[in-house]
Symmetry: C2
Subunit: 351 residues, 2 copies
Amino acid sequence: MLNTRIKNDRLLKALRHQPNDRPPVWLMRQAGRYLPEYRRIREQAGDFMSLCKNPHLCCEVAMQPIDRFNLDAAILFSDILTIPDAMGLELSFAENQGPQFSKRIESVSDINKLPIIDPEASLAYVTEAVRTTKSALNDTIPLIGFSGSPWTLATYMVEGGSSRTFPRTKALIYTQPQAAENLLSILAINIIEYMKAQINAGADVAMIFDTWGGVLTPPGFLRFSLKPMQKIVSALKTEYPDIPVVLFTKGGGAWLEDMAASGADGLGLDWTCDLGNAFNRVGRQVALQGNLDPGALYGAEEIIREQVLAVLTACNNQPGHIFNLGHGIEPGVDPEKVKFVVDTVHQFRYK
Amino acid sequence: MLNTRIKNDRLLKALRHQPNDRPPVWLMRQAGRYLPEYRRIREQAGDFMSLCKNPHLCCEVAMQPIDRFNLDAAILFSDILTIPDAMGLELSFAENQGPQFSKRIESVSDINKLPIIDPEASLAYVTEAVRTTKSALNDTIPLIGFSGSPWTLATYMVEGGSSRTFPRTKALIYTQPQAAENLLSILAINIIEYMKAQINAGADVAMIFDTWGGVLTPPGFLRFSLKPMQKIVSALKTEYPDIPVVLFTKGGGAWLEDMAASGADGLGLDWTCDLGNAFNRVGRQVALQGNLDPGALYGAEEIIREQVLAVLTACNNQPGHIFNLGHGIEPGVDPEKVKFVVDTVHQFRYK
């Protein structure tokens, strides 16, 4: 599994704390609506899930930012909610709306009926997208596979879609915490199999997006978000010790020590977190990925440059930093600003 | 201004780090849609702004939770966006929608044209609501006056309403940071006069709600949120040294030291922040207000009790804690659960 054949291995080196000429750079949601060529494919596919379920088109949109910006990693094009869809909740996206499930988890008995999935069967469109993209990359740069975290998937499954305050999920953890843990355990099992399938299909790095871990209390985060993520990290590291695992909890800046203790190789940081401080806290244990404010992409070039340089210099020229945004690129961003960010990172050299 | 006449002065004592038998308790958005008696008045008033502009009804809804729960403080009933409305942006609330301004700040010239307001004139409905509520309270408990923070008001004024990622406000700070500072300065001036008017009308405590400070980077928070709040704290403490000032930045847990250095008497904490840790960091400098997860109010009583006791015992029986939620009570909450929380705090005694 050790991908020594990959020509540009800056990302893998950074995740192993090995020296690089400069930090590797990739950007969350680098394949997305801000790119006109993405919008064309998206229209061609029809609805968003049809795009996700078409491995050929997934590969095409995953490659678009690579062709444009010369990034140091590609990421599988998919959605974090493919697993609940495969578990029978029926995911759809209305035009310009968030995700919606036609079924949602309403009771303990709904949780007890949830299936263990075989991702090679029900999520074959994802593993096929990994294979197709891996082949298109032709070992130039690594391919990142991913899943949503158990807690994050649980919030969508219980709310039936997006939420601002998660009333149903909060009701679940504060009335039936054991049932919530059962739900999270089933999700962890399915995510482990899903990530294994992605790795077997060619993913070089496994990333877990914990978009909503930051809406929990500190003990709630440990119990309902980190503990099930920890299970995933352990299972993957046992089976694939050479595949780096990266955890990203939005709003998780207070909990980096706990997250680093999970055995993950890297942690993603959002833009509200002080990267230099994070490096001092956990930078010897884990690589750190982030954390330019995605809003900076609406900025003027001289200010973008200042912000990018602040991120690049925060870790004191030490290895183990992966340049990224603190969250995904927003649809209204000008691709030229993205190019400017990437070029600024490319011009940087470690002292 | 020292309100020694107030019979239940637990809140004022906690804000001065003086001993209490138990922490005072009040709850953000304690007057609100979760109360059937509130919904009746709200319907009677017509739209939400008509309620805010009717001092008699504002007093009535501010008193509703006091009558029900025997709380240790009342809070002025108003909206954080009264100032931009008074500045000419024309605030309205469509049914079950967030706030909307009919005009928004689109350019530097819009910022330069913004007026300094006379709150005694254009916000007389607020000062009158303070007077009416203060009189209804009859010195039983203190009355908290409040405003949105400059940064929080600026986001609504620039976006024209609510936002998820604040693209226009981010564009402003990353293209025209000086213009953003000018906008924030005008807002700080208006907020200072507004809070003075509330204090002159009888408010015993001044609270600044920085709902959106947590969407900034660490340097961005210091520059665009804390610096203008600091101006407000300084101006108020100079003129009214005995009126406590409380700052609440949602998502501001990483920045408590900076916030405590502002000279504020108290800091509000959201539920993602570890209260015991916060107490160790800044608990000798400032009182801490918070921080039960508002989602716990959807919980079972035995779990609510555990969560409330965890908050009550986090500060090691030291004075300087004010029990509250980490954010406002949500509309779907059962008032009986709120009563259970308040009763649990009432039964607690410091060792």
